[in-house]
């Protein structure tokens, strides 16, 4: 298993500002994912972040809006840039060892409110 922590757990931000969310894992993992979960909706994959390569973004998500860093096998950050109220959501990171054939472990999430 993997234990994942996220910082901050929640934040309230002003429109136009940026927030960086940190994800720390207690063991080295190859695959790390960032999701968004809006109230009452499913998890939507934002991007996949593998160490040593550029993050791969899903349709509808771009690097300028959601820059991601993955400096090592236990840490990643997601920045939500130039925020608007539509970015209010829960942001979750998860890790997996061998892809969709294996378990994904999720962090507790960061609840973001943009005013």
């Amino acid at each position: 298993s993997a234990v994942i922590s996220q910082k901050p757990s929640r934040d309230i931000c002003q429109r136009g500002t940026s927030l960086t969310i940190q994800c720390q894992v207690d063991s080295q993992v190859t695959m790390m994912f960032w999701y968004r979960q809006q109230p009452g909706q499913s998890l939507t994959l934002i991007a996949t972040a593998n160490q040593g390569s550029e993050a791969t973004y899903e349709s509808g998500f771009v690097i300028d809006k959601f820059p991601i860093s993955r400096p090592n096998l236990t840490f990643s950050t997601l920045t939500v840039s130039n925020m608007s109220p539509e970015d209010s959501s829960i942001y979750l990171c998860s890790v997996g060892r061998s892809g969709a054939s294996d378990t994904q472990y999720f962090g507790p999430g960061t609840r973001l409110t943009v005013l």
Binding site: I4, M31, F33, G40, Q41, S42, L43, L45, T48, L92, S94, G96, S98, G99, A100, S101, D102, T103, Q104, Y105, F106, G107, P108, G109, R111
Partner: protein, 111 residues
């Protein structure tokens, strides 16, 4: 387009009864299907994974079936307890490493 649909209504059941949740999908051919539990304010927690060549899998009071012809998975919680109250998510692999999630079904077990 690809779509995953779970019970749209919340499920309220009496303690001791069996809860049955459905996960239907279209325009997918998943090799794996996973079920997760999510409690309020927490990230999802893995429960079970079933492969396309498996019809059924069990874990304690949980049972999952996978019918690739009907494009459906059923998730059963037998002898339900109030502690089973949570939202349950199904997830399908969209390629070798990515999962797509359904919106979830909220289960409330009454004592």
């Amino acid at each position: 387009s690809q779509k995953i649909e779970q019970n749209s209504e919340a499920l309220n059941i009496q303690e001791g009864k069996t809860a049955t949740l459905t996960c239907n999908y279209t325009n997918y051919s998943p090799a794996y299907l996973q079920w997760y539990r999510q409690d309020p304010g927490r990230g999802p927690v893995f429960l079970l994974l079933i492969r396309e060549n498996e019809k059924e899998k069990r874990k304690e009071r949980l049972k999952v079936t996978f019918d690739t012809t009907l494009k459906q998975s059923l998730f059963h919680i037998t002898a339900s307890q109030p502690a089973d109250s949570a939202t349950y998510l199904c997830a399908l692999d969209t390629n070798d490493y990515k999962l797509s999630f359904g919106a979830g079904t909220t289960v409330t077990v009454r004592a």
